[in-house]
Symmetry: D2
Subunit: 396 residues, 4 copies
């Protein structure tokens, strides 16, 4: 039996449920070097957290997340709360010697993210690790896309186009939520979903964005307040509330290798529910992915003769594909939550090996800097704005 | 806390893993009226079953399935073994007052299936229930297809075309396995995967097949024996083994409502990994489904004006769709194993309500009779062969 | 300037318009060894044929097709009339020393087709040629599919599945037409569209069907008579007319090389307008085609490693692809009528070279024999029925 | 018989062939109020133009385009030459009282385009008309998209994303051509193909772009000179030539109604041959189109209940669809060149009615101004740059 890894999870909404499933499920399908234990679930309301712990499979509960820092049976703190709380929690946990898995975006501001990355770097010196949860990297088709690029199958990258399209507030009558408040969420579509496509395109290409030119828009500026605190922690009350984040973000970018990129993140693409669409064109090959068909990667091999060349619809469910061998026979597709399970697998494997899991807090900070550059560009008449690579005073 | 439901599972290969996941996961996402407990796992080899129980999450193990009949902590026997063992196990379990969930096909012969259905009927009188595991019915897109037909959105059904395409033995060098032996598997592609499309088309249309005209083929008659007992229980040894089942089955059929149908089940459709493709054309609408894109159902509404009519690509991930509300937000697709979880949900719900879960053993018997008619037709120069509806002496 | 080829066309409805376009257009895009002249158009009604000749670009008209036989300026007779007239016209034209292009199906009965094939064989001795118009062979994606099979890229063929799906009479209120009368049309969906997929699958595989097992169905047995003679030559009058042909045909088949096949031809597949869908699975590769996306061929190369294998969406618009070099740059797709233009190109090229154009009348006869076997099987309880290869007394 | 319309065509390469086909074909399928005559073809080389006239069907030839201005049998001048010649030819023709159809982009500079629009406006006073050839507007699926937006089926437009992806110079070894020289072509991907998506998105939405933020890139700065004058008029010689235009253009934009837009035009999207992809999201519906599947329009109707909502794959081949009724039965798709034929139909119809055909030279000028703003933005650090609406001194 492998040694145990006691986990304390903060938050039990959408992300908390996904992470719980992953902690429960990973050891059932993968040979893990550590045995995760669902030790303690944290929520502010004692009744609700107790109920959630029962449902999600946690052994105990706390209502104050700081209690995790003191508990010896907690080796890792998993943070699934809104972005405004990440910095405080993560830094405290790392300083208490707990490994940390933190949901994305790493923080609501670059300054917070910088503090977190610094804390992670300090902690690493004593073998305490921090990871940020860009789970879509662990969709097999995405991981395989990265592999193809790393293997040189795409050659020199020329174009990246990435869209994250949702439509859950396309209706102006959709109610307010914490996700539409700048104080809680940091930003709107940009940070919530734009962060994913920034991370994914950098991950797949193995390159960083060097600068961006952006437009942000809030199409619907006021929304009805929900009647009471909803599942996602709405602000409550009656009347209308002000939307203080972006509804949509579009931006151009350049990658370190010279590729041109277009990005779009929106919650107003009517009919698109969770369409993460990424295309990469290189001098030797091209890729296309759409999360609405998540088990498929389209690959064009430029080395093929013209008459038989074409985008191949690769069903990424072969034993040869990343993560897939642990699951079902070929053709039996995976779902959304498998990315979280794979994240646990990679995290636990890195912890046991004493290695840095990826993406690190430094990686999360870099994404945050891209988002900040997007906001600066949008505020500066869309001027092309470089991604800062060092800490900057007073930056958002 | 709901009352518990002690489960004993026989078999821990592919199906055993899928069922284990479902028993573990269903109560985490659904409010179940009974709390399933993973009480005991049964396997012939003590060492291997102990290891599997640890991995899959079972509390205890047995090496003789008959022990389940005696254990008071087992309320339900879940049978995930090859088809030649189903009848004996299921009948014994039902007679011992245990509910039964039995993998498909129900049995290797109609006679066995008849005995099982009779046992199920006897057991039902005392509230003991039996269900056969046609899990694909519980893929949300399939369940929603059934709903559209039941709601009359397709009108009178005219055409059904169903294919279950795999390619795992398209290579003549692929080794022998128990699935290629008639004694163990009953039949080849016909029973293994053809059974699914027979069940699914009958389920979606709400009609039964009345007769079939068929061709069976074994393209590769001898295959290399595996070097040793493999994961799936291969027969071992060296040299070549004889394939005694069909590699592919094609058949025409008629449904009770007069629709024409074509069926194809094969393990030789190179490039198709697990492509369950079903199309239904009615007088008012049409449907198309492909398991390679399992979260999508294509629906054509004949009531739409010609200029705006078209097959709609419905992403079946809305809260309004069957089973989906318990999972993730819209657009976050499910995977293969969710069908098993939904099967547990429906089974447990029916047990708690004292109702017959579906598909019943009688439903499984009817599918078996269709398969038998396919074999009779193929043996009788493809003559159109009626599906028997009552027990027949000496039938396969 | 190449020598001229005087063409006389009989019929000016749908097919007449398509053939006229082809004769006009072929020399504009292809270097032809003979210069086709649109010499004379034949129609029964003097006024209507004159109007049609003006619209379609023909230099003169006749109301009696027999006049073509006497005209020295007519080198080739192009027959675009209903099937019941083909035999008489084609045989007379061949005997008069005119080349013949005859629309499919070759005839309404095997006996007629046999007479035509015999006449073609006699005529060939003196260099007079006959061709039957299975134009879909000349869709570039289809021609390229044939090439891939001929090049051995599919290996041994195991499966063929072919569907020709339309929906123009899915509505029971759709009126009668000559296409629904056995006397005029010979058969219904079977001969009209089923003939195409029989020809195409034989063409692509380079093999012949050896036998079939079939079901035919007429879903709607009576239909309203149109108020007057319509565009397609409806029978006129009031009240209801009897549909005397099949609405749909489904059949199984075997090819000479042992492949299993399923076929479906229907006018009741609601939502499918002209969906010719063909899939071929071989031991080395697979193909898939759908005329609804006619410039695309999907090809799976079994030689590719599992991780990067997938159906390639080949856009068949490269200069390397059949016929395409004469048209537009890559990616600029062709349409339905281009098949007819390519037919003219191949026919004229063969005539100038003194070679037999394909498909020949013998090929058309063979397709007719398949259709006849389908009808015999359907009338004989779907029994597997061999395709006759020699003339048979009293056959339909 | 309708009165004739004598046409003089300048240029006989790719575009000249397409226009010739359209002039020949339009009257065969549509009832036109004027009868176009292919009167004279103009090319600089007497031998080559004579050969082209024979192939393409023109009655006479000229080697000096100015001769058209003098010929009484020429009513309309059709300009299919590189952009640097458009202004001189078009203005002279209009001043000579000839109608003008001019290929896009209208000119290589805004100043030229302004002069052309002014000439068109003057000519219109005396009933002489000018039209610019954005033929993709006449693809039925695009025309139908416009109709859906005009009918309010999309509601308020929120997002536009448009890409025109080609790959014909993705290979650095592809040779120089006039299309890569700024003097001849004006710009690269931007003007050649970016112009189309600017026009198409403005056409479909019925709105104009108000400003843009852009990046331009030339990935391959030097290319091998072709051995001799090629088909497209290459510059000849040996060694390497300098590419003086953009290989790719990406830009953000805003529409008059407030929608956000992303645009991408490139010749380096390996695997995409002529992929014009346009998506529009509105508050009531969404559209998606890809020229690689040109007979299809995807439409999402937001009024549909969530459970049955989905992008409809509308096969735009019904008699109810724009232009389609003149061609084939439903499901028989059209090809690239049909857009040119429809352009002739609309142009001739407008001329006969004494109305302004669209898109006018003013429309072409507006597109040119968008392209100029893209270039200015790219030269100004991607700053958001307004589209000028009045003549500007010294503008490119």
């Amino acid at each position: 039996m492998p040694p145990t890894l006691g986990v304390g999870l903060i938050g039990h909404a959408f992300m908390g449920a996904a992470h719980s499933h992953a902690w429960r499920t990973a050891p059932r399908f993968f040979d893990l070097p550590l045995a995760p234990e669902l030790t303690v679930l944290v929520g502010r309301d004692a009744t609700r957290v107790a109920e959630a712990a029962g449902t999600l499979g946690w052994s105990s509960t706390e209502t104050d997340w700081r209690r995790l820092l003191e508990r010896d049976d907690v080796d890792l703190v998993d943070i699934c709360t809104p972005g405004d709380t990440h910095a405080e929690m993560a830094i405290a946990a790392l300083e208490a010697g707990k490994h940390v898995l933190c949901e994305k975006p790493l923080a609501n501001t670059v300054a917070e993210a910088e503090a977190m990355a610094a804390a992670a770097e300090r902690a690493a010196a004593s073998g305490v690790r921090a990871m940020v949860g860009f789970t879509y990297r662990r969709v097999p088709a995405i991981a395989f896309a990265r592999q193809l690029v790393a293997d040189g199958r795409l050659g020199e990258i020329r174009h990246v186009r990435a869209q994250y399209l949702q439509d859950w507030i396309a209706d102006p009558a959709a109610p307010m939520s914490w996700r539409l408040e700048k104080d809680r969420a940091g930003s709107g579509a940009l940070g919530d979903i734009g962060a994913h496509i920034v991370d994914l395109t950098q991950f797949i290409t193995g390159q960083l964005l060097t600068g961006v030119s952006a437009l942000l828009e809030t199409f619907v500026k006021k929304r009805p307040l929900p009647a009471s605190h909803g599942k996602l922690g709405g602000v409550g009350g009656e009347g209308m509330g002000e939307v203080t984040v972006d509804d949509a973000a579009v931006f151009l970018g350049r990658f370190t290798g010279g590729a041109l990129a277009t990005f779009e993140a929106t919650r107003f693409a009517l009919g698109r529910k969770n369409a993460i669409r990424i295309e990469v064109n290189g001098s030797a090959g091209s890729l296309a992915f759409d999360f609405e068909d998540m088990n498929v990667l389209h690959f064009y091999d430029g080395a093929e003769p013209a008459s038989t060349a074409g985008f191949r619809r690769i069903v990424v469910t072969e034993p040869e594909h990343p993560y897939v061998g642990a699951w079902w026979p070929a053709g039996h597709g995976l779902g959304y939550e498998h990315g979280f399970t794979h994240q646990v697998v990679d995290l636990v494997t890195a912890l046991a090996a004493g290695e840095q899991p990826t993406p690190s807090f430094a990686d999360g900070l870099q994404v945050q800097r891209v988002l900040a550059a997007v906001e600066r560009s949008a505020a500066d008449n869309s001027a092309f704005t470089e991604i800062r690579t060092t800490a900057a005073e007073g930056e958002n």
